[in-house]
Symmetry: C2
Subunit: 331 residues, 2 copies
Amino acid sequence: MEIRTPYLLFLGDARDQLAAKTAYGVRVWRPDWCVGQRRLAECNADCGIPDMTIKEAQAAGVKTVILGVANRGGVIPKNWTSELVDAVNRGMDVASGLHTKITEIPELVDAANMNDRLLLDVRHPTRNFDVADGVKRNGKRLLTVGTDVSVGKMFTSLAIEREMHQRGMNASFRATGQTGIFIASAGVSIDAVVADFISGAVEWLTPENDADHWDVVEGQGSLFNVSYAGVTLGLIHGAQPDALVVCHEAGRPHMRSMPHFPVIDIPTCIEANLEAARLTNPDVRCIGASINTSSLTEQDGRDFCKRIGAETGLPTVDPLRDGVAAIVDNL
Amino acid sequence: MEIRTPYLLFLGDARDQLAAKTAYGVRVWRPDWCVGQRRLAECNADCGIPDMTIKEAQAAGVKTVILGVANRGGVIPKNWTSELVDAVNRGMDVASGLHTKITEIPELVDAANMNDRLLLDVRHPTRNFDVADGVKRNGKRLLTVGTDVSVGKMFTSLAIEREMHQRGMNASFRATGQTGIFIASAGVSIDAVVADFISGAVEWLTPENDADHWDVVEGQGSLFNVSYAGVTLGLIHGAQPDALVVCHEAGRPHMRSMPHFPVIDIPTCIEANLEAARLTNPDVRCIGASINTSSLTEQDGRDFCKRIGAETGLPTVDPLRDGVAAIVDNL
């Protein structure tokens, strides 16, 4: 899945800012690629970049229209379709993060075929993968893991890639989810791969590389989230990580959407992830903890990080407040 | 995936007995359902049951033709297709364990539509599943796990179901792979489910049940096989097992097809599986070890089981030689 840049962020008639959070993530992490946004009547989201029509986007050199919004009821409205058809007729690709497949909209498919343009459903892998073989590859890999879903694994991975680049290190963010794929302009939506090929897909995504090159691999799920732990384990085995960074949200009352599951403590989480990772890389180490403390006051957040740092012996940061330099220092 | 019984085992032109091992497994475990076999010219396999034409199978009351063979090069030969079309025209369903989908053979699909018959590709789940919620369900569940793939998990599960039935216990074998699905006449090919839904599919497969009912769940892969461990972990979490039985092949030199991975020792394997299973069932216990000792002499096999029994403190049997009564005794 390779996406051509730069992008027009298509917000459609997103009902609020949250509905456009994928687009907003792309805007935050890849401002240079986001030349404009397209908002229809009744759109209540704003990525803070110039509004453009499809025609203006064409003039601005946009290569791909990004559907980075949640749509209502899984149906793509007619007025979206006509805009997207117009974009394809004007020579742009369309990449969608919706569950609903744009590759199943007949008039859009016809337009794409006629104009030889790509329609990319980034949630739905189209290529086939081999099963993993676990053979050691050259190059270094860092993987973010977590106590649960939605604890900042993508954010932390991107912050680490940025920090590495600022230090002149050779590093690539490797995306495993839809927002990450738009940000990396490539990747595999790993939770949508057929179960047999989870770790094989990750081996493909993080191939052999130069000895000093770091893949910074976006984690998914958690070994302690019963819905997604299989995905997480395959991701760990396929990535063969040299370094893990554990992510957590301070103050989460229980596993997301599951009041019957308590959140695991961080030291136990680290040890379980290291144990799993040793199967394909016996030398793996956990090099830091990344905590989303946004639910706490600043002082409580700092105290929380300090306590986790003491418990784990690891550099512990809120990546938004502190940056991740302390973690990269510990590589 | 529900398959109507009884069956005609379609062996086609299987080049040797190994190519028909799926059919043979069905014959061994469900002799009452297998009323005949259909062998074409050049077939070198034999399930030891009466040869029948499609017409004779119809007269014998066959409900489903089972394709339980490996086909050459992934292509279904023309002479197979005409036989299968004939079966459908005579009112039978067709269930296939091939990678190649029979639901993509146009003339067979036409015949099935015309006659309102089912074509079942058991390797390819067709229904959608929810993500797992990990909520505790009534009923008891036993899951086979293993040091590697192909160490006897299906055989052990079926032997345990049979032993339970002989004792008058309320038990159901739950199939997670193609051969098992033919044997159970239902099930989910769990390694072909989309990664996000592994554990959710297993929750669906092993639903709430009577307090004294045992689901005997066929395990897949191994936590220590890097190709498939994600599937295994999702299976463990979804099954919420009360009891694990660990399976192993004595004398295996290394992980199957992976000379660079040694086979894990049994006590470590047990502990890792228990640790994973505790997430959805804190009371899980390992109740026995099942060893395929066919590569050893009988005396060496007995010594091997004795040694593992001493190391683990568990009833340890070769299920083919000893049966599994000792394991069921330990429930």
